[in-house]
C-alpha cells in the first residue's frame, strides 16, 4: 500500500462523486482515483458484456495551434501525421533522440493548424516541457489544458446507443479513431471513438466545470443498459487482455519501442523526427528481444517483475501481469529474446519460488471488438 498522504494527491472534478457511488479511492500516479466500485471482476465483465463509464480525467491534454503546429508535431512524433484528416485521431509515440519513449499518446486533428494531444497522466508536465523545449521559437501556441478538461471513457457494445440518448448528432458517423465536436447533454464536448479496453466505445472530453453534470446525465441515461462506473483496476485487466502497452510498464525512456512491437506507429520513412536516426539503426540491427504475451497454464497470478524462466533458467521478467477475468487465468507481458517469443513456446513464470508452466501467445489475449470500418 502506498504511504502517500491523501492531501498531496490531485483530484478530478469527479472525486467526490466516486466516493458517493461507493468507489474505493487510492493514490495512482499522483492522483486520487477510484480503483474499484463493486469489484474488479464484476466491473470488467460489465464492460465486456454491456457498457461501463470510466473517469480518466487524470489523463493530460495539450493543445497546439498555429501555422507551425503541424511541422512541430511531425517533428515530435514517430507516427506520420501528414496524411491525417480533420477530426481524425492517431496513436503515436514521442521519442528521445536515443529512441527511448517520452510518452505514448493520441494526436487529434481539429484542422491543419490546430491539434490536441491526449497524454499519460504521470507524463503530462514532462511532455509539456519537452514540447516547449523542442518548439523553440516556432509559430505555435502550446497550452497544457489538463486542469480545465475532464475526460470520460464510455466503453462496451452499448456505448453508442447510450450516448446517442444525450447527443443530437448521429454517433454512428464517428468512425474508429475519429472524433467530432458535439454537444452532450447540451454541453460542448469532443467525442472520440477511441478507448483502452478492446471494446467499441468513446472517450469524451468536456469542460471540467461541467464534468459532474455530464457524468450524472450519462449514468442516468445508462440505467436501461445497466451502466456502471468502472475503476482503474478493471481498466488495467481490460487493457491487459488486449496486450496494450502501458507507459511505465512496457515502455519508458530506456525501452526500445521496436522491441515492444510498436513498429507500426514508427514511420521511419517520413520527414525528420526526433529519434529517427537511432530508431533506424535499431531497426537495421534487429531486435535483441521482443515483447511476448504469456499465458499461465496452471493456477496463479503473474505480476510485474516476476521472473520468466525457460527450463528453470531466467530469460526475462514480466513488465505487466494480472489475472484475466475473461480467460480465468493469469496473463502477462515480458521481453524475451526472439527465440523464446514465438507463440506456443513453453516457458515458466516464477511465483514465490515455484515455476508455474506458461506459454507464449500472440496478443491480444482475446479478440478485439473495436468498431473497425
Amino acid at each position: 500500500m502506498s504511504q502517500e498522504t491523501s492531501s498531496s494527491l490531485k483530484t478530478t472534478p469527479l472525486t467526490n462523486t466516486h466516493k458517493e457511488l461507493g468507489g474505493k479511492l487510492v493514490p495512482f500516479a499522483g492522483w486520487k482515483m477510484p480503483i474499484q466500485f463493486k469489484g474488479v471482476i464484476q466491473e470488467h465483465q460489465c464492460v465486456r458484456d454491456g457498457v461501463g463509464i470510466f473517469d480518466v480525467s487524470h489523463m493530460g491534454e495539450i493543445e497546439i495551434q498555429g501555422p507551425s503546429a503541424k511541422r512541430l508535431i511531425q517533428k515530435l512524433m514517430t507516427n506520420d501525421i501528414d496524411s491525417m484528416q480533420d477530426n481524425q485521431a492517431l496513436y503515436t509515440l514521442m521519442c528521445l533522440e536515443h529512441g527511448g519513449v517520452v510518452d505514448d499518446l493520441l494526436v487529434h486533428r481539429f484542422s491543419e493548424d490546430h491539434y490536441f494531444l491526449c497524454v499519460n497522466a504521470a507524463n503530462t508536465e514532462k511532455d509539456f516541457q519537452w514540447i516547449l523545449k523542442n518548439a523553440g521559437s516556432c509559430d505555435a501556441t502550446i497550452r497544457n489544458t489538463s486542469h480545465e478538461t475532464a475526460q470520460l471513457a464510455i466503453q462496451g457494445k452499448h456505448s453508442e446507443a447510450l450516448l446517442q440518448k444525450l447527443c443530437e448528432a448521429p454517433l454512428s458517423e464517428i468512425r474508429y479513431y475519429h472524433f467530432k465536436k458535439e454537444k452532450i447533454h447540451n454541453f460542448a464536448s469532443i467525442i472520440a471513438r477511441t478507448g483502452y479496453t478492446g471494446e467499441d466505445g468513446f472517450e469524451i472530453y468536456v469542460d471540467a466545470v461541467h464534468a459532474e453534470t455530464v457524468f450524472r446525465a450519462i449514468l442516468d441515461a445508462g440505467k436501461e443498459f445497466n451502466l456502471q462506473p468502472i475503476g482503474l483496476g478493471a481498466r488495467d485487466t481490460l487493457r491487459m487482455e488486449m496486450g496494450y502497452a502501458l507507459y511505465g510498464n512496457e515502455i519508458n525512456e530506456e525501452s526500445r519501442p521496436l522491441e515492444a512491437g510498436l513498429g507500426w506507429v514508427i514511420k521511419l520513412g517520413k520527414q525528420e523526427f526526433i529519434g529517427q536516426v537511432e530508431l533506424k539503426k535499431q531497426k537495421d540491427a534487429g531486435n535483441r528481444r521482443k515483447l511476448a504475451g504469456i499465458r499461465l497454464l496452471e493456477r496463479g497470478v503473474p505480476r510485474p517483475h516476476y521472473r520468466v524462466l525457460k527450463n528453470g533458467a531466467p530469460v526475462g521478467e514480466l513488465t505487466s501481469g494480472t489475472f484475466s477475468p475473461s480467460l480465468n487465468t493469469g496473463i502477462g507481458l515480458c521481453y524475451v529474446s526472439p527465440e523464446y517469443a514465438k507463440p506456443g513456446t513453453e516457458l515458466e513464470v516464477e511465483i514465490r519460488k515455484l515455476s508455474v508452466p506458461a506459454e507464449v501467445v500472440k496478443p491480444p489475449f482475446l479478440p478485439t471488438r473495436v468498431k473497425k470500418d
Binding site: Q36, G39, I41, G233, T237, R299, G300, V301, F323, R352
Partner: protein, 129 residues
C-alpha cells in the same frame, strides 16, 4: 462490517474459531474487502505443521497478493478444497464457506495473545481513518 463475537482475530486480519482442540481459520470481512476479488488461495498440505505468526498460505486477489499468518500453531487437519475452484467464496462468505484451514491446536495458550472482536473492530476502524 461483520466481526463475529465468537471469534478471535490477528492484527493481520485472520480469524480463528476454536472448538475444543480443533480450530478453523479464515480471513475477516475487512480483509476480503481490502483485498478485493480473490482469484487464488494457496493452501498448506494436510498434515503439515503451522506456527503462530508465520505465513501458512497466500491469498491472491486481482489487485494484490497477501500472506496468510497463522493465528495459532498446530497441525493442519483439513484444508478448504472448495477454494481451488471457488476462491471467491472467501469474498462472499469469509466466516462461513470461505474458511481456509482447520488445525489441531498445539498450544492453547497461543490464543491468549489474539484480539477479541471489539479490539479487532477498533483496529479496523483505525486502519480506515
Amino acid at each position: 462490517m461483520e466481526v463475529p463475537q465468537d471469534l478471535k482475530y490477528t492484527q493481520e486480519h485472520e480469524w480463528i474459531r476454536v472448538d475444543g482442540k480443533k480450530a478453523v481459520i479464515g480471513i475477516s470481512e475487512f480483509a476480503q474487502e481490502q483485498l478485493g476479488d480473490i482469484v487464488f488461495v494457496e493452501l498448506p498440505e494436510v498434515g503439515s505443521q503451522i506456527e503462530q505468526g508465520s505465513p501458512f498460505g497466500v491469498v491472491e486477489s486481482v489487485k494484490t497478493v497477501s500472506d496468510l499468518y497463522a493465528p495459532a500453531g498446530g497441525k493442519v487437519t483439513a484444508v478448504n478444497k472448495d477454494l481451488e475452484t471457488n476462491p471467491e467464496k472467501v469474498n462472499s462468505e469469509p466466516y462461513g464457506e470461505g474458511w481456509i484451514v482447520e488445525i489441531e491446536l498445539s498450544d492453547e495458550t497461543n490464543l491468549e495473545s489474539l484480539l477479541d472482536a471489539d479490539a479487532y473492530s477498533e483496529q479496523c476502524q483505525k486502519e480506515t481513518e
